[in-house]
């Protein structure tokens, strides 16, 4: 069992745009690593830095948003490559929860495996939350996975989170290996029944 993830409180980073792909979250050249430690420093690297290493003018570089733990973005966040390096890089930069219009499937799956809730909000809520975080970097977001409500700026917002992931997070079953191991006898039976490979 893992830590139960029920309530997350933090300030938000507003990252506008749809279809932000995992190559943008972590460029492939930073994936030459044997563990996922230390990837946070490379999160959004080419979004944040010029080729000569100079910092770009970007909200991710703004001192107002450093250390914030909730990332707000648009549609189809995390599309593209299956690299788990992407959510690890976000985790490394301090992100504990993501709020977006929708996610690519493998990315959402990877987030759940790392204990990061990837919440889905409708267009109106996404717009308001984005603006709220842009207008006031200090506004506090409070997410509750039991009530499925997000509180920000004196308002409650509804969000969606696939029930499988929600249960995994609130019951501390998001690290799936031990849950899968419980059915070892059934796995062994299935293995005997299904054809294997003889070269």
């Amino acid at each position: 069992m893992n830590e139960r993830i029920i309530e997350i409180t933090g300030k938000a980073i507003p990252l506008r745009g749809d279809d932000i792909d995992t190559d943008r979250i972590i460029p492939a050249r930073f994936m030459k690593c044997l563990t996922f430690d230390g990837l946070g420093q490379f999160a959004f690297y080419d979004v944040k830095y010029e080729e000569n290493g100079e910092e770009k003018r970007h909200i991710l570089n703004s001192p107002d948003y450093q250390g914030h733990s909730i990332l707000v973005s648009g549609r189809n966040f995390g599309c593209g490559s299956s690299r788990e390096h992407a959510p690890w890089a976000l985790k490394g930069m301090g992100v504990r929860c993501i709020i977006a219009r929708s996610y690519a499937e493998i990315f959402a799956n990877n987030c759940s495996s790392l204990g990061i809730p990837a919440l889905i909000v409708d267009e109106a809520s996404a717009g308001e939350l984005m603006k709220m975080a842009e207008d006031d970097p200090l506004v506090e977001f409070r997410v509750n996975l039991n009530s499925k409500k997000l509180h920000a700026g004196n308002r409650f917002y509804a969000f969606d989170l696939p029930e499988n992931y929600r249960i995994a997070l609130v019951e501390g079953r998001w690290d799936t290996t031990s849950m899968l191991m419980e059915n070892l006898e059934d796995i062994k039976l299935k293995n005997q029944f299904l054809p294997s490979f003889k070269g």
Binding site: S82, E105, S113, R173, L194
Partner: protein, 455 residues
């Protein structure tokens, strides 16, 4: 109404429903490579767990391997370290491994089918989003993250929810010079890069029936670019002919074929959604933007409502036609279009011609076996005489984790699958996706061209 293939294969492989509501699915075949697996073996080690069924996992190197010189150690120490990690992990755990010197080394999604590992009715997983490629054989194949690689190594199962199935019927007659790549780019442009969310795509109809297995692989390969994790084609005689006699094909082949036939979706199978596409008027497709859905016919204008960020990054204007745009690099290869039929088509276009001066052009075969076959047919000579570099097999400039990269703002005509910002190794480099024939035409002319004018 009868069951579709996905539902049948799912039921066969399902262990049980988990407390989270997901299904625990047995994975018959697990493929690994050097970039996303070392961390999984690390996690396994930390927990004192062993690989449960090493005979169901196969490894090769593709993402990071240099395609020019293969002497060990590789110049890039990190690449050497990652490949050595895969070598150690497979050796220690008794997993079959096809390394740089193996006759079977290649891009993992090209290797699987070539060896006959990829078979109808299997569940297949690999830590790479283009695992959907294997669906061309009527397998249900998922791209997965590293935590799921760990799960499969430890339990041969993973937790996931069953997708809905969208049937995509493709009808009509393809014009000369229009290929499988153009069809899949069109499907993604029509349905959107997230249009497949929650769905598996079942491709069918006369155009798919008439396709070779390699063309079907190109279609299934890019399913993920349309937001669907799984794409497949029902197995048929072409599938059975292709697999017959391959290294890992079943010994009792007739029995296997009977089983495979029983898994195909029936004519009256039920689907959650249906999409029909007539490809008779389809033109060669090119991408103009920064995701694979931003694509149009080579003679079409970039739409007036085109995304501003995409246009500005690419340096294109709304209303512009891409035909005639100068290119710097031409790349033929990748799990999308690095197979022998792709190289044959491209060689046909470049035969007796020269790559335009100033254009850097590469052909990277998808596997050792593709390279050997091409060399037997003399394709390498055609490419080299035209001025292409003829490389060793690997992923190469599709994701540029090895030394093959764009530089600065270079524009690449590419037969690969992604045109994301920075995808080909330069943060400001630009990618225009197209079929291998179109890349060959662009290489020769030095500008984005309509290959139909050269056939």
């Amino acid at each position: 109404m009868s069951q579709n293939l996905l539902n049948k294969v799912w039921d066969i492989h399902k262990i049980k429903t988990l407390p989270t509501g997901q299904d625990q699915l047995f994975i018959s075949l697990h493929l690994i490579h050097e970039v996303t697996s070392p961390q999984a073996f690390g996690m396994l080690g930390e927990r004192g767990l062993k690989v449960l069924y090493p005979e169901r996992t196969f490894g090769t190197v593709d993402h990071i391997i240099p395609t020019d010189k293969r002497e060990r150690p590789f110049d890039d120490e990190l690449a050497e370290g990652m490949i050595r990690a895969l070598e150690d992990n497979t050796a220690k755990n008794g997993i079959s491994y096809f390394g740089p010197d193996s006759d079977h080394q290649g891009i993992v999604h090209i290797m699987g089918p070539e060896l006959g590992l990829t078979q109808p009715g299997l569940t297949i997983a690999c830590g790479d989003s283009h695992t959907s490629t294997h669906g061309a054989f009527g397998a249900i194949a998922f791209g997965i993250g590293t935590s799921q690689i760990r799960d499969i190594l430890a339990t041969q199962t993973m937790a996931l929810s069953k997708p809905k199935v969208r049937r995509i019927n493709i009808s009509g007659t393809l014009k000369k010079g229009v290929y499988a790549k153009d069809i899949i780019l069109k499907i993604i442009a029509d349905l959107g890069v997230n249009g497949g969310l929650g769905f598996a795509y079942e491709y069918g109809g006369e155009v798919i029936d008439n396709m070779s297995m390699e063309e079907r692989m190109t279609i299934c390969n890019m399913t993920i670019e349309g937001g669907a994790r799984v794409g497949y084609v029902n197995p048929d005689n072409k599938t059975y002919e292709y697999l017959k006699g391959r290294k890992y094909a079943p010994e009792d082949y007739e029995t296997a074929v009977e089983r495979w036939k029983s898994l195909a979706s029936g004519k009256d199978a039920e689907y959650d959604d249906v999409y029909n596409l007539d490809v008779s008027s389809l033109e060669p497709m090119v991408t103009w933007g920064i995701n694979p859905g931003q694509a149009l016919g080579v003679g079409d204008q970039i739409p007036e409502d085109a995304d501003e960020q995409a246009c500005s990054f690419m340096g294109f204007d709304r209303g512009q036609v891409l035909k005639g745009t100068e290119i710097d690099v031409a790349f033929i290869g990748s799990c999308t279009n690095g197979r022998i039929s792709d190289l044959r088509i491209a060689a046909e276009v470049v035969k007796g011609k020269k790559v335009r001066s100033g254009v850097r052009a590469l052909v990277v075969p998808g596997s050792r076996s593709v390279a050997d076959q091409a060399e037997r047919e003399g394709l390498h000579t055609i490419f080299k005489e035209a001025g292409f570099q003829w490389r060793e097999p690997g992923c190469s400039m599709c994701l540029a984790m090895n030394p093959d990269k764009l530089e600065k703002r270079e524009l690449c005509a590419s037969s690969s699958n992604r045109n994301f910002i920075g995808r080909q190794g330069s943060p400001t480099g630009r990618t225009v996706l197209m079929s291998p024939a179109m890349v060959a035409a662009a290489a020769v002319n030095g500008v984005i061209s309509d290959v139909r004018e050269m056939l």
